[in-house]
Symmetry: C5
């Protein structure tokens, strides 16, 4: 049940810092792309080997190396060795069930985020681990899968001659985090649409399938919370200026992302309450239906059971049943039964069952 | 589903500080009104262009510029540039899904509030973002829609020669926040009336429609909480004297608004508990009804099913059924059945089912 | 719905410090009573006008002015002006929906309490706002209604020559708060008795009326919490010695009231849990009853429906039904039906339905 | 309803420090016992009058005075006067509904504990207030009832020549608190046994009686929590070395009791969750039973109602019903009905109702 | 009920520090194994007597003594005496119901952990107490049972010539804690698999047995939480560098274990929410089934009861029932009944019962 708990146990008993990729192989091939820029220029390259990235480490400009796909452990290992990354960090990059966190080391900081997407066909939340390493003049990012969430940042690097190129590696990390958080809003909107859809279903036709879907949605929101709550603490550290690598001008932007994260959490909590309310509503609509069914049964049974008894009486074969001999007996009985039925109906009317 | 999550995703990937209005266009036309005052005089103007407000920035008197309607981004942009407002703030003014917050900048503070109203026809809570910017001698306010919540403040500015005109821009911000919070009490009263109405409905006739309405109310209260809780923290900052722009005399008044906010929160929480209790009550009244229905069915069935069996016996066509030949057999059977019915009724009486 | 939210909206848009009485007019006439005392003497007076109280402000002895009834705003206004009370405080005295709080001013402190009583006839909690103002040598108290909770304190002032007269105004405030908190214990006992009563009802005969009463009680406890929780924080301030107007000897007594308040909160929470448990119990006893009813119906139906079918068979009018011609056919069928009925009963016995 | 709220209201309006015993008279006669000891000797005495204890106050050795039974207020008063105990403390000793607390005075500290016992016959939790006063060289303990929880401590004083005699009064208080907390483990085990017993009952035969017992247990655990939670804070003060009267060597032992208390709280919370789960289980087993009952009814009714209809058809007295004249008509109808019944059974089988 | 509360009461009244083993005897024989190592060598020994371990205490190398089985109290006592362990610690080692904790003493620290395993046959969580004592150059570990969780650490000591041998006793303790926490991931995966299995069961066939199993799982998770939550605080102390015995290089590794623990807690909480959701789902699927059953019953009854009444009418024996004499009367009645049945079916169709 990798969805619920991951498969960390593969690593039980290994020495800390042993590198094993725990996720599923998502990308066909590992893709290493590099952007090197400063206020004046930008160059982009797709690398064949991680070694090609090494010389950039000592340039005065900023460099961003992005790895899509983690299945080739040796690439991460080589990069880690060259950029002086602690083995435990490399291990965490590959253990793709981490909760969002930030760890500060002497010459760099390590950030884990969860990148989310809502698969609308299956109405399921999918998530992926994104690791960021921010050094003095470089940023390394690791994704399990090739995605398009960072594309707008790439475009801004390519086109904007302004802020982002001049601002250095810490601003790039801000921009990447911001892209991830902005993406949460998109996911939340899809979840919101899904809720609206199920809400309508619930009003029209509350089948067990709708319940199952609400239940699935509830679980998705559970995972959403798990991804978002710890992120707030992470960004809070940046915003409060506790991490010297983030310079004051970037900190104002960090405050903005912090705000967005709090807003995401707020919305997640609201959606959670709404979905919980939907399950209650489903159950009570079930009770309502049951009540309605029972009323129909009771009305039919209560009217006809006594009447059936009466006709049963006159179906008895006793030699001497005086009424049977009366000429209008049959119609009299029909009339009496009609009156009884009417009386019953009035009684139900008064009880508001009709 | 703009109600649940907003439409922030429109902005995903844009550079921070890009100005796009996220709300729905509510007001026909953007209205810019300006009040300039000090202890001695007050002047009011409706501006055609935001540029007309620029000269007031450097007057020694206090100036309040109010914008109703945010669809014309260039107006906000022009104002922002002239009054030196940070692009991220302008972005937030236009992103109308913000939670209440306060941000301090070097020469001004930025405050976001939610203005609420309870639409009694549809029994729905509506809300709108109000942004306030307080500079040394000016206040800028931005509303999505033309409203009347600030009218009493305007009237006091026009008529009262006392406190409000002499007290400066920080007191004006207090007065505006106070107006918004006072408005919450009005909303809470309407919600309270709604609860009382549904409470009566619940006692008289607990239909599924009542449940749906309780459910809607529950959701409204959810949004109410979301608007009010963060406000407390915002005002708490002011009241504790952490924001130098608020002078001590205004701080006593801020303590008063703080009190009101806490009272609003208290009431919201109480209403929430009450509404939760109403859903429980609905469900149990449903169970009660079901019980009642079942009892009627059971009583009728339990009395008549055995009797119908008896009359069935004497409707059999066996050649030799001695009782059928007895002259008083019919009446004997009627009598026996009467006794059985009576016995059953007594049994139900004893079981307290009647 | 004044009960749930108050009618604060009457004041929306008014200038802060505007005095309007928000409560209902409870007392026939406003009653102003005054006690002036020191270690040696005590004098009591009933005042016609608030002006009569003014000279006492500057006496070296302690003075307690108590106002019962708030409908005459001018009395409060005159007192406030003479004793230098801030207009916002006077406003709060008249806005009778305040939560318990304490506000410190330069020369006096202002305390709001809720005085509770449990109306046993209607099983409803009633509450009233009590405002206390403690100055250097005077205490002003404001009640909505003439009550007897402060009588024991009056008696101690009249009779005890000891502590209370010598100890000054801060000790008097302690004594008054203590009287209010002691009164909570009385209210809790009545609520406890009510719970015990409903508990018995629940065991004997769980009617929907009992549920409605439990529900009402639940709401009462909700309001009880709302009155008591903030009080703890208020008294905690006193007990920790943060308020210089309370002298060290009084602080030990304040610790005692603090303890009592915590005990009240403890009990309120326990009662709340108990009442919540009672609603669960009601619902499950409802389910139990339903089960019992269903079992009776099922047993009756399951025994007689097959038998009725059998007698129906021999009531058919086919020309050739061999059994009908057998001499003992009737008795054989009766016997078979008896055996079937017995079998059914044994089956139910084994299933523990009987 | 003394169980739920106590009878504190007896004291409403009395001057603080007035001594009235609020508990029920449990012990026949008040018993005053005294132990005086140091590293070398121990002497035990049963006192007739509290005055006999006075001379021990000034001995260099440690003295423990234990009072069983609080109904003779004058004994407590006399002791209090001689040992300089604050009247509010004496009042608290007699007000036997206190929550656990610790109060520090200049020359002594006052500790309130709840001593619990689980009455297995009635499956009820009983509790009793134990007050401890620790002075420089004496310990006073007050119990409502003569109990055996302190006996092991007495025995250790009598027999152990080691630690306890040498360690002074603060260690004795530790030993007494430890005895009380150890006793909680015994109570918890009984509650645990009760849960296991009810758990089995629930599996075998979930009658309403079992529910009532679970409900009672739930309430007992409520009171258990109320007794244990505040105790943690009390002991935490000792353990953190904030109370100078406890010397460092005793503090390590206090840390041990603290651990035990946390463990007790942990277990109480676990038991609470377990009991809550049992109530859910009961309700769902009720629903299960209901389902089973309904299925039996539905199967019987659904098979026989159509058959009864068919036999009813051939019971009609129309002059011309061709089937009635067929020679094998009766058997044909029987066969058809058999087929219908079989079909129904197969249908139920497929629906997993059988 | 040792599972729920342990059997601590055995010790009630004993002097603190009295050594009694409270667990069940799990291992056949107590096994004492010793590893002594430094960067250059490692030696392993299985000891017959605890005395053989004594000389190692004063070696400059690191020594790890592991005891499997606690039933021979004298072994623990002897070790304790030689290594200067406080009697309360020895007592805690033997009282096998401790919650995870860390206690600092002058020359060593004492750590309690819970080692968990999930018995897949019985779907039950089993746990065991592991005690660690870390001195300057030695580590003592105590397990109730011989287990294989520490084997990977042993292997690394044997094989790795690197870090672990050079790093000293504090790193060994880290490695042991890491092994225990890694083991939690394995347990969580098994619990996750169990949840997935029950989830499927729930979808296919929600029998009461499934409910009972969900209920058991819920309880297991309760115990899981109890074992894991306090562990976080324990490790947090290490990670924050508050414990001088842990040297800075080890602290980075401790931060890693801390992360894992937080991740375990996160997952436990998620599983808890999921299992709670499953119980809700079970109950609603029960209601769904009930609804379905009721619908079938109602449809059958509602169609056939009126028809049976009609055939009953023409089964009456009145002398004069004109319809009976009509030649096509029988078929007319059959036709009418067919129409009624069809009408009913259409009605149910429209009501979405079919």
């Amino acid at each position: 049940m990798s969805k619920l708990t991951g498969r960390r146990s593969k690593k039980a008993g290994l020495s800390p810092g042993t590198l094993i990729y725990l996720g599923s192989k998502r990308t066909e091939e590992v893709k290493i792309s590099l952007m090197e820029y400063d206020g004046d220029h930008v160059q982009e390259r797709v690398l064949k080997k991680s070694e090609e990235a090494f010389p950039f480490k000592d340039l005065p400009t900023s460099t961003w190396v992005n790895i899509d796909g983690l299945q080739q452990v040796e690439i991460i290992e080589a990069l880690g060795r060259h950029f002086n990354i602690h083995p435990l960090v490399l291990e965490d990059i590959l253990s793709t069930g981490q909760r969002p966190k930030m760890e500060e080391f002497e010459s760099y900081i390590y950030i884990v985020l969860r990148m989310l997407s809502f698969n609308e066909q299956e109405a399921k939340l999918e998530d992926e681990q994104v690791s960021l390493i921010l050094g003095p003049n470089f940023v390394l990012t690791f994704q399990e899968n090739e995605g398009d969430v960072f594309d707008p940042v790439r475009n801004r690097l390519r086109n904007d001659k302004g802020k982002i190129r001049k601002a250095g590696a810490d601003y790039l990390v801000y921009a990447l985090i911001d892209a991830v958080v902005d993406n949460y809003f998109a996911v939340l909107e899809k979840v919101g649409d899904r809720i609206e859809f199920l809400d309508e279903q619930l009003a029209v036709n509350p089948t067990p399938e709708v319940l199952a879907q609400i239940h699935d949605l509830k679980r998705s929101i559970l995972f959403l919370r798990k991804a978002v709550w710890p992120l707030r603490d992470v960004i809070n550290h940046f915003q409060r200026g506790e991490i010297p690598i983030f310079q004051p001008p970037t900190m104002i932007f960090m405050r903005d992302v912090y705000d967005h994260t709090v807003q995401v959490i707020d919305t997640v909590e609201t959606l959670r309450d709404i979905v919980a309310g939907m399950m209650d509503l489903y159950l009570s609509s079930l009770s309502n239906r049951m009540n309605e069914v029972m009323k129909v049964l009771t009305i039919i049974a209560t009217i006809f059971i006594p009447l059936t008894f009466i006709v049963g009486i006159y179906g008895m074969n006793f030699d001497y049943i005086p009424e049977l001999r009366w000429h209008w007996g049959y119609f009299a009985v029909l009339g009496i039964m009609g009156i009884i039925a009417l009386g019953m109906l009035l009684y139900f009317k008064r009880k508001k069952w009709l």
